[in-house]
Symmetry: D2
Subunit: 324 residues, 4 copies
């Protein structure tokens, strides 16, 4: 049983990670930290977690084997570096180590706090990089949109069939974080659908990197009146004709957490689970393929995927402790 | 003051049409009919309408100057024919007279009940066919998705700039009608987004017709947990570079019910109004244009647009009695 | 046509008041002010209002005949005093002038900023105090919960039948204001019902005052996942047997904005209108009466009621410009 | 490992019971039956269950040790009788065996299909009747409202302190079942709160029975726009002064599934778990006590409670396989 900590446990993602690790037979959750709410018990801030640990002030001086870092982009890098320095293996939920190319990071996020670690960071999508994750000191946990979008498009990308791509994504509000704002006020979100970051969401380069360059991706997220859940609708003109249904079944055969289904999937089918559900459809009149993928942005999109990565890193069964 | 009737007033669209016409200074609502609920007052079935008229059994023997027909596709055609026969001018909310080509209708809907009327029917999108509506005996009121999609894309289509098009549409549940079903059960819809009729929604040919043929349109509707409201997100690769913002401002200058705005619009901005809000955005990395249009599916998408058409047909100010 | 201003127009209540007055044939909306967002147009902050006026910084130096003051409790009193000083008639949306007894105000709200005005302030519930409102310089617009609760219970109170009262109230989130907070975050509110201010909500003394003292009122508000709308469920053990249905019909006969209905009313029946819908029911097994009243908290509960008061104050038809 | 069946597994409650038993280490789910959807796999009808068993046509000829019967009231009794006849132990989710007095059943539900079994049926609220459940052949699983209401009021009832009681209950829509209807249409439920069965809900006698007679209970349920979740707000005038906080803490000390908390609890805190959360508050101005209890109506309110009862009946740890 390895000792773990969750840094930044007062946010939505950190709290879910803490709840999963607290009940996990292979890990012992030793510390939860938070910038705000330090001194309060986690189950007072997030009653659903039922984690009775007290939130400690931010620190990297933690005697643990592994840590989940749930810090904002930019703030995560130095914390991750300090933990690695102490010999702590890290799953980082931020974007800081997801992009291999430093200049791409700088273009989208600004200065990088620990560029020397970029080379060794493993992009933590187990379905694509399972073996690298096992040996990693530092796993960059994918963004929620990229998790769904890459799983939706990887079979076509690997087969070299990926033409231009339009991704129209719909996300529940927890994806935007717990910090109160006008945009997340109930009255703003209720009874509407709101496109945002049109033509420039930071998850775009992450998706393009994992699809192997090539296609020009238009990625447009929309906020929907849902707490958690994410659906990506992907429109692809394949470079040649393909039996997409067979391609997808083969691609994900044996994958424990990817379900290829016939009908289009809805968010509630995967809510609070580590599953990603995918369906692929022909649009006979245009020749396009339409691929849907749905995940829970806080689970497979973030925190249960972090635990999936930790399982791999510590030689456990990949699925132990993951919510089904 | 012209006498009007609403046939099929127990459904959502018919009820809104009745409510608008009941308060309209230029029309006198004389009859409301319904297959179910006949004998009940409309305000008992739909309290929000506050229309105290009793629902009458279905009939076309009505002494009125005009009628709004809110019948299902297929059932509307013979009713419309009978009304025209009596000299009643008609705004038909069904799809029966929207498509000019009989074979296209038959392909998507089956046999047509009054094909001889197709030639004279006017497609009732005032922003495109205002003059024809004025003189029409029979106006085919556009579908809700086509209203938003065509208004979103018409400026590019008219400028000959429309390349291939992907339309990802999101609709509130009232768009699916009032008949109870598993798909419209609160528990089914809540906390999810559901794609439906993937690769084959009947509104596709209607959109293509009004965009002037040419582009291959992929149209995918999604059900969202919202009562009424509709957003179409349109992705277009223009055939040449264009100052889209200027194009759209010019195209809709002076239009009373189309608002071209800068930021992406949300459904609540137009809820229970006759407005359509549109924004157009460059996706600099791919060259695509992204156009959003939002309407209330029961208002500009159906019933207030029907009243807008009636206003034109009876020589009234186009905007009188329309909800702002 | 009287000139009016709305002070504090960036909040939900102020924005609705501005929207109604901007379209009102009897008033000319001259100024809208706001602490935040000054310099921005109101229709940029609240697109639905479609009020193109620029928000001005807070000021009482306004040349208008009347003002709606939409300030927080405590902050309103000095502003109201300054406006009256200039000869401006005021409808105050805050609690500052609702309670006749200074000591009750101090007990629930703290020090009062203009106690000398308490005596002349009229409690602006037109159904109870219509004549006093007509002549008032200063109208204290009722709270949203008291509007519904008092209208629900006044017939029993006036008949001397009111025994002990339990009021279980449910409110949409806009009732809690526009300021972002954890409590109003979409994720907090969605899929739950949350009691708050249990045993001590400040609207309690306002309800008791208008019911004429006597009964011990337990008032418990609950936040529900709804944008606007309010339902109060009132449980009363009457002091003697009564034909409650007849009592209520008589009490509100001729009232333009109170609808006594048979079945229990739902929030959507009055949404974005000035109506209050009431039903009264016997609980045969216990002898209790159960009274429901529903309003839109931003309309009859606040801003359209403010306009109703302004109509009375300026000798207009009480109902002109009110949303039905 | 005992063999079990779920009869009526296509409804919401049956599906949750099947999902829990399918994963339960102490039971083997052998059969799922359904009136509709027979021949379909349960995971096709309810994807979230991920139970790959095929729904069988209704039958009581099942070779199992125990069955959960999820039939409507009235239809359950003969099915239960047939199962008992075969030696199958039963947890019945209907109301058919909850009321001890036949005449009370007949008054509220009509004729009883197996009155001879009433005497031996145990009311399956483990917190009150744990020992009787262990030995029962037939457990009548409590209604969802009674589960919350009785747990909320039992400590006062047992202490003889329960004066008259008002219970204002709020329930998510799944509590009304899966059968489509106007009342459960998304558009009907969204953005409103609807009281129903005012003055006569069938759960009233069940609550009164378990509270030991005495108090006159007014019970009023409201439908809220939530999928699952239930909150009861109970208003009690105690017969004498009491330290309610201490009384409740003591009453539920050691209970694994009842959490007494300080602040009022919200539905999401217990969603998809077997927990019931309770808080008790003084209303100092009136002397009333206000008690809140929240459960998930499909879990502690129905199906996970059924599994809790099965655990007791088969000598397992009471909490095994229950969702936390």
């Amino acid at each position: 049983v390895a000792d773990v900590a969750v840094l930044g446990a007062a946010g939505y993602a950190g709290a879910v990670a803490a709840a999963l690790l607290h009940r996990h037979p292979g890990f012992e959750l030793r510390h939860v930290t938070a910038r705000t709410d330090a001194g309060t018990r986690l189950d007072a801030v997030h009653p659903r977690t039922r984690v009775p640990l007290e939130l400690e002030p931010p620190s990297t001086e933690l005697d643990v084997d592994a840590a989940v870092v749930a810090y904002p982009h930019g703030a995560a890098a130095p914390v991750v570096a300090a933990l690695l320095e102490r010999g702590v293996r890290v799953v980082d939920l931020s974007a800081d180590f997801r992009l291999h190319a430093l200049e791409t990071y700088e273009e989208w996020y600004g200065e990088h706090g620990a560029p020397e670690l970029l080379a060794e960071a493993v992009y933590g999508l187990p379905e694509l990089h399972r073996d690298d994750v096992r040996d990693a000191r530092l796993v960059a946990n994918p963004g929620c949109y990229p998790t769904a979008a890459i799983l939706a498009l990887a079979p076509l990308a690997r087969a070299g069939l990926l033409g231009d791509v339009v991704i129209d994504a719909k996300s529940g509000v927890s994806g935007a974080g717990r910090e109160p704002s006008h945009a997340k006020h109930f009255v703003t979100v209720d009874e509407t659908v709101m496109p945002y970051k049109v033509g420039g969401h930071r998850h775009t380069p992450e998706i393009e990197q994992e699809l192997g360059g090539g296609p020009r991706v238009t990625f447009t997220p929309h906020l929907v009146p849902v707490s958690h859940g994410e659906l990506v609708s992907c429109y692809v003109m394949p470079t040649e004709a393909v039996d997409a249904a067979a391609l997808y079944r083969d691609a994900y055969e044996g994958e424990p957490w990817v379900e290829v289904v016939e009908g289009p999937p809805g968010m509630t089918e995967v809510r609070e689970t580590n599953f990603c559900r995918i369906s692929v459809h022909d649009d006979p009149r245009t020749g396009r393929l339409i691929v849907f993928a749905t995940i829970d942005n806080l689970y497979k999109g973030t925190s249960s995927q972090a635990v999936q990565n930790l399982n791999l890193m510590f030689g456990l069964d990949e699925s132990v402790g993951l919510p089904a």
